[in-house]
């Protein structure tokens, strides 16, 4: 019936085109910035959001002064320019210092900016959504095949190709453009040309931020500026850039077109899985073309991976281990119920972060979607309770198994990739699971999550549940520790240090990494299951980007180059969060600044710094 109505299809296709245009403008700056600086800028979404807020605040004032289309469009441009300048500030203060840093640090640092901007936007523009004005002269709809269609959408449809054309001209016809293209092709070449690199990079960031701001500002007649814009657009912009091929502007355009249509018609066929569809597209494209439509294999110059190195076993480590275990066992004697709850959660996060250490610190596999396995463990346990009435004793292994299975599946896809594509793909995998949990309401309860996931009677109180968590965590950490020191862990490190060498001595890197995904996934799944029972509920945020970032922050805070760092990182971050969050509404700002500071000033983390200091003393 739907298919028979051409006017409906036409309008739907036009809607798709206008989303595509918007998406392209938002993503195009991201891909240009990546091409030149090789940084995947998480803060791009924040710039987009600032663009929308600025325009929604600025333009009504301008329109009060002089009402007319010229004012409106000048306001849009002014907003984009302001955002461009903010981009320059971010480049000068932050990005400039991390061009040479490992990808993981770059991703985290720009995510730190996201957190900072989230709180700043509320401070500057207020907590309420701001509805921008409609474009003067474009309020009336146009008739298309007997249906009304917003004329502003038509303008948006045109805006995409216009921006593409202007960017093309800029890149082809100006010296700046030539340099940008050269840098995208081969960074060292530009360095050798004696070009003022700093200016080039700053200029690129201005362009990228300008486009992000423009994308955001153009949205205000159709969307009110609100605080969730940054993460929702960045997720989609990532998909567009990755599918199009990182660094490729035409690729981004093509990808945006496909995604726009997919969304417009997807809503008719599978109205509740629009989010999944987008990420599935990305998974399929990457499975067939690991570098997207027009991307090229990254020429990796030197090893970018940082991680743990061999050290002499500490004397007295058994005594230390015993002391820690004894300390954990005795905690209930001195701690009250709430402290025990905090300690339980610290242990859970320590296991979660430690499982990620196996991938990142040991294997050099920068997984940016580790929440997927944590969430699978939690959901596995919760679903087992809800649908099969299993007890906690059976639900925890069920969660672990589901996480291991999921890790096996995701791992099979991503071990073919490397570097930033791998990071993006893991992120996408976690987002797919997030979307499934979010939209498959019948099974997962959607946004509601699943409640009533409480521990078995004997483990119900804070003390028994703490002891259970402590016992399982200690065993799991010791097992992982053993694996890290075993040939398997060494093989992972070998592949991280030098893929070429590892292959030349017969190591099957992919298979090892795949197994590493499953082991890490299982451990994260156990942590997730324990978490579900500790809170009594699960919800999609367990699978969200910020859960992944939490784990990465713990790793970074503790020190990626230390085996035990993540445990310390989890303890410190969680304790800080518990202590500071209730006191301030600027927790995200503080967390973001701390992440940035860590990347810039003290990338070795707590344990790493202490260790270096200790070794220097000797």
């Amino acid at each position: 019936m739907l298919a028979l109505d051409p006017s409906f299809l036409a309008v739907q296709a036009l809607s798709g085109l206008s989303s595509a245009s918007s998406l392209f403008i938002a993503a195009c700056g991201l891909t240009i910035v990546f091409g030149v600086t090789r940084i995947v800028n998480f803060a791009h979404g924040s710039l987009y959001m600032i663009g929308a807020y600025t325009a929604a605040t600025l333009i009504p004032r301008l329109l009060d002064l002089s009402f007319g289309p010229m004012t409106f469009w000048a306001g849009i441009l002014a907003s984009a320019l302001i955002v461009g300048l903010i981009g320059v500030i971010i480049e000068v203060l932050l990005l400039r210092r991390i061009y040479g840093a490992p990808e993981l640090f770059q991703l985290l640092a720009t995510f730190g900016v996201v957190l900072v901007v989230q709180d700043l936007v509320v401070q500057v523009f207020g907590p309420e959504d701001i509805l921008g004005p409609r474009a003067p002269g474009l309020r009336a709809p146009v008739e298309i095949l007997g249906r009304r269609f917003p004329s502003y959408e038509l303008v948006l449809i045109a805006a995409g190709p216009v921006v593409l054309g202007l960017v093309w001209l800029l890149l082809r016809r100006t010296r700046f453009g030539v340099l940008v293209r050269a840098a995208t092709q081969d960074r060292d070449m530009v360095a050798s040309l004696g070009v003022n690199q700093a200016m080039l990079f700053t200029g690129t960031l201005f362009l990228g931020a300008f486009l992000a701001g423009l994308g955001g500002a153009l949205q205000i007649p159709r969307v009110s500026a609100h605080t969730g814009m940054d993460l929702s657009i960045i997720a989609e912009a990532f998909v567009v850039t990755v599918v199009g091929g990182m660094g490729s502007v035409p690729g981004a355009f093509l990808a945006a077109l496909i995604i726009g249509q997919l969304q417009a018609f997807g809503i008719l066929i599978v109205p509740k899985s629009t989010l999944v569809v987008v990420f599935l597209l990305m998974a399929v494209v990457l499975a067939i073309r690991p570098y997207g439509f027009f991307g090229r294999a990254e020429v990796v110059g030197g090893s970018h991976a940082v991680g743990i190195a061999s050290r002499k076993p500490l004397p007295g480590r058994f005594a230390m281990l015993l002391a820690v275990v004894a300390g954990l066992a005795c905690l209930p004697l001195v701690a009250d119920a709430y402290l025990l709850k905090v300690a339980t959660e610290i242990l859970i996060f320590a296991l979660f972060a430690f499982s990620l250490q196996l991938l990142i610190g040991v294997g050099g596999v920068v997984s940016f979607g580790h929440a997927a396995f944590f969430g699978l463990g939690a959901y596995g346990a919760a679903l087992a309770v809800k649908w099969f009435g299993l007890s906690m004793e059976a639900a925890l292994p069920a969660g672990l198994a589901l996480a291991a299975l999921g890790a096996g599946l995701i791992g099979a896809f991503v071990v073919r990739l490397s570097g930033i594509y791998l990071a993006m793909m893991t992120l996408a995998a976690a987002q797919i699971l997030f979307a499934v949990a979010f939209q498959w309401v019948e099974v997962t309860g959607g946004d509601n999550g699943i409640v009533g996931v409480w521990p078995a009677g004997w483990a119900g109180g804070p003390v028994p549940y703490y002891l259970l968590t402590a016992a399982l965590t200690v065993v799991a950490v010791l097992l992982l520790r053993r694996i890290i020191d075993a040939p398997f862990g060494y093989a992972l490190r070998a592949a991280r240090d030098s893929e070429a060498r590892a292959e030349a001595i017969g190591l099957t890197i992919r298979r090892h990494r795949w197994l590493a995904f499953m082991i890490a996934g299982a451990a994260a799944g156990l942590a997730g299951g324990l978490y579900a029972f500790s809170r009594g509920s699960v919800d999609p945020s367990l699978l969200g980007i910020s859960t992944s970032v939490d784990a990465l922050t713990m790793l970074l805070l503790g020190g990626i180059q230390t085996v035990m760092g993540p445990l310390a990182g989890a303890a410190v971050l969680h304790a800080l969060r518990d202590w500071v969050m209730p006191l301030t509404s600027l927790w995200r700002l503080m967390l973001g600044l701390s992440i940035i500071a860590m990347v810039l000033i003290f990338p070795r983390g707590l344990v790493g710094t202490v260790r270096d200091w200790w070794e220097a003393r000797e």
Binding site: G301, G302, S303, G307, I308, A309, S310, R482, I483, D485, A486, P487, F488, G489, Y490, A491, R493, A494, R496, D497, S498, A500, R501, A502, E503, A504, I505, G506, L507, T508, H512, L515
Partner: protein
């Protein structure tokens, strides 16, 4: 007896033909040098024999087995060991652990999840290090070694796999002249006693003419001459080819990894 036989090997990168119709053989115990100016295609040929690159055309036979399309791992199992132009070792491990890793992999124990790697095959690893004169440095982190020493460790890694064929891409780059000769002497004696065929490239002509049984000259991806060192030295075409790039022959090229 022929160990390695390469025929009609071709590879191009975009417009650049890096190897064209390359054809040669290596016998057991033989040392074959491949020389040529920078960019001649030497590394490309090595990578096609080692499995790091897929040839566009041609065949690679090892001991009569076609390994043209085999992965580096498969070739390793068939007896190919190699060093890289820019040394590839495991910088996060000690010298001994590098060798142990190779021994573990060689014995297919790399999936082991329980007993510590650092205790496995330690003696054998130290022996191998001793052979390349690095026994003292067994417990030094590889990242703390001088580049020349790293290259030695890399040789020991390659030998740990008990290869039949050893590929050495600029093995002495970054070493002092005396060290170079020592290392190649050592290589020659290993090749001789164990019947290993060695294919190597080298910019130091003294090393080349002092150690190679035969020399292959590559220019713009093509073999322009092949034969005993003395023949090559006299070959007019070779002289001409090198005239423009005299320095490349003398100056070791390999840069230290960043």
């Amino acid at each position: 007896m022929t160990l390695l036989s390469v025929s009609g090997l071709q590879k191009s990168f975009g417009g650049v033909v890096a190897a064209r119709d390359v054809e040669f053989t290596v016998a057991r115990g033989e040392m074959l040098a491949v020389i040529g100016p920078n960019g001649a295609g030497k590394s490309t040929v090595f990578n096609m024999v080692g499995g790091q690159l897929r040839p566009d055309r041609g065949r690679v036979l090892l001991d009569g087995h076609d390994i043209t399309h085999a992965s580096p791992q498969k070739r390793f199992r068939r007896g190919v060991g190699r060093t890289f132009q820019v040394a590839q070792t495991f910088l996060s491990m000690s010298a001994a652990e590098n060798i142990q890793m190779a021994l573990i992999s060689c014995r297919r124990q790399s999936g082991g999840l329980w007993s510590p790697a650092r205790e496995r095959h330690r003696e054998k690893a130290v022996q191998l290090l001793a052979r390349v004169g690095m026994a003292e440095a067994a417990d030094v982190p590889c990242s703390a070694l001088a580049y020349g020493d790293v290259k030695r460790v890399e040789l020991a890694i390659a030998l740990a796999g008990e290869p039949k064929l050893l590929l050495m891409d600029e093995p002495t780059a970054g070493m002092a002249p005396r060290e170079r000769t020592e290392l190649m002497d050592l290589t020659a004696s290993i090749a001789d006693t164990q019947g290993i065929g060695v294919l190597f490239t080298e910019h130091d002509m003294d090393v080349v003419f002092g150690h190679a049984a035969r020399v292959l000259v590559l220019l713009r991806g093509r073999i322009i001459a092949a034969g005993a060192p003395d023949e090559i030295r006299r070959n007019e075409e070779v002289k001409r080819a090198y005239l423009g790039d005299e320095h490349a022959l003398e100056r070791p090229k390999g840069a230290r990894p960043a």
